[in-house]
Amino acid sequence: MADISIKEITRKIEELPTPDFIVQRIVSIASSPNASTKELNMAILESPSMAAKILKMANSAYYAMPRRITKLSQAINILGFRSVRNLALSVFTAKSFFSREFEYFNTKKVWSHFMATAISCELLSKFINFPDREEAFLCGMLHDLGKMAMSIVMPDVFEMIVTVAKHKKISFSKAEELLETYSHQQIGRMLFENWQMSEIMIASATFHDSPSLCKSEDSRTIVNLVSVANTTVNILLYGYSGCFDIPAVSDEAWNNLGLTPRKYLNYFENLKIKIKESEDFMNLSNVLDDLQEGELDGTV
């Protein structure tokens, strides 16, 4: 596998889709304290199709809105700046990395894994009283983006890893180790560094399968959180992310988050229900399919 040099990988990663101006602006507004609803609203409306998809997701069963949201500004006020940013990033990710299909790999299932892990992270935040639920959502949603990057940067290696994992009934990471290739964690890290994403996002992408290696105090909790949430989703949606082992929660993450069997079981049962309720939210075609033009006109 060593025939691909680091230089080549770096070059190929740089060629991957990067968040465009609109997405970058949304991200920046969402983290600026004095930004207003109006500003974020304006920025998203730059892309009507993005706005429409965000609205559609905001109205999905996952949020279970007491009334239908018809305006983007309402969605921003109701869901909050950063939740809307997360939805914008999910729309961008789906469009940039999930538009193609593989014979050996079901992108719809991977997308479900992304969104389910996002949901899982947000729910776990509540259970362990972690205040930054939106950041947890985002880190969970994109933690495995390295896998999709891999499928573009080195498709044959990617195919081998998936095949090996499937046949040997081992995890994606384990298959990477067996084949002695670059790992999706490394690729993900390079990708996010290239995108200049936050420290915690990079750490989540880099260490979610090996949380004990994360040495940064600032990122440790979120890495552990993503690790537990990801493992749990791999149990509930078996094989969706290319992991075919029977996963177990990392001891270190468990202890660090102060989990107890009772608390975890409670979280697990809640997550099962939440994932079942959120099928449309996790459905790739809902994010990819372009909406009818008319549907958008009336709302914006």
Binding site: S31, N34, S36, T37, N77, I128, Y267, N270
Partner: protein
């Protein structure tokens, strides 16, 4: 510009923390939350919803529309902060939660539809801090409630324990009083009793065994129960002290009643024996008068007279006894020589003494001692003691004696009656002077008697202002009675 905002953020955070730290109870947490929100945005209406008996309801009973309720319900299940556009303004929904559990939902209507990211972040910080605080307040209230229940139970138990008429004391290993109930106060100045308690409880702790003791102290009876207990790996003695004087008094009365009945049946028997003799002898004389010679007739008549005298004596005793009981007996003092009286008594006891093979002797320190007392009562008293000595002689012994000695002091005389009879167990020393008392109800000894002799002797002596007691007595060896009589005005 950036740094300006940061100071602003930190300034507000410290203000929020200061305000939150002043919250001391659940009520003030609602008002503090309201004032914190109002310091940032002017609210038009405010609601506080919490789950009560599994339904969401407004804590302060404010009226609310169905619409608001739906929003609150959503916030309650979602646990996230939201601003719902509502007419011209927005409804702020602020669920206060700890972990996955929403504790209560704050809702406020504001005339705003534009919110800054910062404002939403602040709401989030407030909600987060308030969640932890509120949960602690709930736990605190729970502890207070539990404490109140514990306090109530403790008071109830205290009332029970202090309401008990028994004194309850717990001693630790070093005999310090670890606990006492209020009834203990009634015995706390009885140092002799406390000393005994001390000994009993030491024994309980040392032996690790339950002890039950009854004791008499200053005319009162106490039942003491002491048992070993363990509390937090330490051993203690739990002691109950009950004043059973009342019960003892009743027991005594019952005993007295029983004794009276026994006395009655015995008295009938005592009266019947001489009466039967009188009847039998006189019948014989009447039916066989012609055939009887003079000596036989005389012997018969003498017997009749003796038995009649005996009968008379018994009846006199009974009369005296009833006078004593009714307190109608009066002393008739006269000056007489007590040495002469005792000589007289010794002589008249000769017949009985000979019959029982008892040698009666009299030692006197002076030939004449004048006293001013009721002669017949003194005679009865001394005679009763002497008769007693003769009656209870020890038939196992080779020779029996009864020794009377008389000592003279300036104001009184002391009469001692010593015998080598069967003796009296020490525990009966004071009882022998009680009415009707006979050691074991006359079943043990083949001795006749009414059981009132000694008690009458005591009454007579005491009526004269004197005293009577057993000086010493040992079972199987003998007894010495001592009478002290004031001489009276001469």
């Amino acid at each position: 510009m950036q740094s300006q905002n940061e100071t602003n953020i930190f300034g507000r955070i410290s203000n929020i923390i200061m305000e939150l730290s002043k919250i001391g109870d659940i009520e003030s947490s609602y008002s503090t939350l309201s004032s914190l929100i109002n310091s940032m945005v002017k609210t038009e209406e405010e609601y506080f919803f919490a789950e009560k008996e599994s339904t969401l309801s407004e804590i302060f009973n404010h009226n609310y529309s169905r619409d608001i309720y739906d929003l609150i319900k959503w916030g309650y299940s979602q646990g996230d902060i939201s601003m719902f556009p509502e007419g011209e303004g927005s409804m702020i929904i602020l669920p206060i939660s700890k972990g996955p559990k929403v504790l209560f939902v704050y809702a406020a209507y504001v005339k705003l539809q534009e919110f800054s990211n910062e404002f939403m972040m602040f709401l989030r910080i407030i909600a987060f801090l308030m969640g932890s605080l509120y949960e602690n307040l709930l736990l605190y209230n729970e502890i207070l409630d539990k404490n109140a229940i514990i306090e109530k139970n403790k008071n109830f138990l205290d009332t029970l324990i202090n309401g008990s008429i028994d004194s309850i004391i717990v001693y630790d290993k070093s005999m310090n009083i670890y606990f006492k109930n209020s009834s203990y106060d009634s015995i706390s100045d009885n140092s002799l009793l406390l000393e005994k308690l001390h000994d009993i409880n030491i024994a309980t702790i040392d032996s690790n065994k339950r002890q039950i003791v009854e004791l008499e102290q200053d005319g009162k009876f106490y039942s003491i129960e002491s048992l070993p207990i363990y509390f937090e790996q330490e051993s203690f003695a739990l002691c109950f002290i009950r004043d059973i004087s009342g019960t003892k008094e009743l027991e005594k009365l019952k005993q007295l009643d029983k004794m009276k009945m026994e006395f009655l049946s015995m008295m009938s028997h005592e009266l019947r024996t001489p009466l039967s003799a009188v009847k039998a002898y006189s019948e014989t004389i009447i039916t066989a008068f012609e055939d009887m010679d003079r000596d036989t007739t005389l012997a018969f008549l003498t017997t009749i007279l003796t038995e009649a005298n005996h009968l008379e004596k018994l009846l006199n005793d009974l009369l005296d006894f009833s006078k004593l009981e009714l307190k109608t007996l009066k002393l008739e003092p006269s000056v007489f020589d007590i040495v002469e009286l005792i000589n007289d008594i010794v002589n008249s006891s000769e017949q009985a003494a000979t019959a029982s093979k008892v040698t009666v002797s009299f030692e006197k320190s002076k030939e004449h001692i004048k006293v001013n007392l009721d002669k017949s009562r003194v005679r009865q008293a001394v005679n009763n003691i002497l008769q007693n000595a003769i009656k209870f002689c020890d038939r196992e012994k080779e020779s029996s004696f009864a020794k009377i000695s008389l000592d003279d002091t300036p104001s009184s005389v002391e009469i001692k009656v010593e015998d080598n009879g069967i003796g009296i167990n020490e525990k009966y020393y004071s009882k022998v002077f009680e009415k009707f008392f006979k050691v074991d109800s006359s079943l043990t000894y083949q001795v006749q008697g009414t059981g009132i002799g000694l008690s009458m002797a005591k009454e007579f002596v005491e009526m004269h202002g004197g005293s009577i007691c057993i000086e010493k007595s040992t079972e199987g060896i003998g007894t010495t009675f001592k009478i002290n009589l004031p001489k009276g005005v001469l």
